[in-house]
Amino acid sequence: MATREITYLEAVREAMSQEMRQNEDVFILGEDIGVYGGAFGVTRGMIEEFGPERVRNTPISEAAIAGAAIGAALTGMRPILELQFSDFITIAMDQMVNQAAKTRYMFGGKGKVPMVLRTPAGSGTGAAAQHSQSLEAWMAHIPGLKVVQPSTAYDVKGLLKAAMDDDNPVIFYEHKLLYKTSAEVPEEPYSIEIGKADIKREGTDVTVVATAIMVHKALEAAAQLEKEGISVEVIDPRTIVPLDKETIIDSVKKTGRLIVVHEAVRRGGIGGEIASMVAESEAFDYLDAPIKRLGGKEVPIPYNPNLEKAAIPQVPDILAAVRETVKYK
């Protein structure tokens, strides 16, 4: 399969375009996704190829966008909706939580909601408190929703294909700072199974489970720690619902130590779920250090760029956590 290096943003666009070329039922809707190309330019150029019927600008109402997408999905379409910022998911939440997530169950499997909600998440762009949050744990709490957080251009193309093919609603988080990262990505469409973690780096001393942008920070930390003789295994769950428990448990059984890193606020974050899952699992007997969670501070993301950085885990935080965890190895 021919590959070339493209950005994460291009990979998202390519996945959608390739799918729309071969499946008439797929369309996109969102605010300013037409000529403007969306808040981050992901859909730029798509309206020219697919026309305003399939790349639909909507009024500024996330509830309406979500509701329209769910309705379209129920009647046989396969909509992709884009929210400009994942913070606005709160407005779409009633539709997603009470309609999209429940319909298939409440109708005994006779109705289905094959839709993808794509939305940029995370801080680092100076967009302040209302445009920088990571709220994936909220959605992960709702049975009936799948939650995906790709961290690389390769993963995002394959996972978006899998999300579009899925007959269930998928919340698809794209980290804003990842849009400009690039990787070797196959030209042809391909699918990455939802619910399959990826071991981004193999190691023996400590397992670091990191999501989204934190995967890259964990890898940077791991490279530095290697020079200190500490071997770090970095696992990217890629999808937090469903969670690939087996890969994480097997890794912890190997290393005996676990650190979970995410950008979302630590309190109530998905890290607590992963830590608890491991503590309850057969990996418990292999733990040789307390499990650590690194997450965002319990503050709204500040506008000041220095404070904005300080509010979420950075490479030095991961370095310190790993050193402390393996100190008594």
């Binding site: 418990f284 733990l287 040789d288 250090a289 307390p290 008594y328 190895k329």
Partner: protein, 444 residues
Amino acid sequence: MAKEIFMPKLSSTMEVGTLLQWLKEEGESVEIGEPLFEIMTDKINIEVEAYDAGILLKKYVEVDDQVPVNQIIGYIGVADETIPDVSPGISGTEEVGMKHQAVSAETSSLVEVSADNNQQTEKPRATPAARKLARVNQLTLTAIKGSGPNGRVHRKDVIAVLEGATTSPKATPLARKLAAGEQIDLAAVTGSGINGKITKMDVVASTPKKETIPVPATRKKMSGMRKVIAERMAHSAYTAPHVTLTTDVDMTKVKELRASLLPIVEKQTDLRLSYTEVLIKASAAALSRHPEVNVSIEGDEILQHEHIHIGLAVAVPGGLMVPVVKDVLRKGLAELTQAAKEIGQRARENKLLPEQLKGSTFTISNLGMYAIDAFTPIINQPESAILGVGRILDKPVAINGALEIRPMMTLSLSFDHRAIDGAPAAAFLTELKQILENPFELLV
């Protein structure tokens, strides 16, 4: 389920016991029948053995604590068992709840004071991996030194213990045997053989030269018995004004008496009659004639005893005990021989029964087997007098204007001048001297 350790009730009158020492530490393993702790009652001090095997999980009381009988003072069980932080009170009664409150009220200040110490006695801190490894290898976590924060045991600590236990240094069989004989730790010996193997020469080189070892000063906590002796001797010496009278006794006739009774007693009892039994018998006869010496001070009263029970001071390893021969007046020399030999034996084997240690009204301390003539014995309270017996030694004495060699013995009588005055004490000792110089008088 952890087993209770409680303060035993050793006599019908015992209400509290004082803990003298624990013979095991928390975390140490205990076998059934192993001495666990030592207590002192109003009568005796005794080592209490473990009823259950396991690990000593908890000690609720400290040395010198006075503990009511049947109160739970600790637990034996398996590692990691949960047990109460404070003693749950009296063992095996319905009133545990009630007593518990009383006890915890008494001990609450103690608990606060020792809060810091408790940290060491808590459940061992260990990671799950370390726990599993220890469990699989049947190691006790408390016995493993943790390298982590707050002494947390990590997997590597357990591995270190396991490796230490299974791999001993390389050594030749001869070197091993030598080292075992000389009690040398092979780990401390540098091997000069192939791959650092320890040879005979290495062991010989590291064998300490015995002559050059200076004997260091040692410091030992007074054990239970030592402590009891110390307290009782000091108390007697400081409360009772001691006066000691001495007199020389011609033992010629006692020697004859003993020689003629020896085969008879031996035939009856298989035991050899000794001077001690004659002294017991003679003292009892003298006491019956001088009951004012057979007394005790109780508060502000002087109690003149109804019976004559004579205590015998017996040297035992690490101290001294005073078992009692009861109702001496009613016993013949054969019976006395049997009684005295039995209690002496039991004392040396530390098998005296509590009732064999109580009730004496007068004590005899015999140092006749040493080159001692006279001494000043300390009264065994609550008695008021004690007889010290010296050796029998042939000495020149003037008999009817002529010099004769006679077997002479010195008696030393210490008495408590609060209860007994010099004249009656002297009369008693004179009486005793006369009985011994004419032992046939005992038949009267």
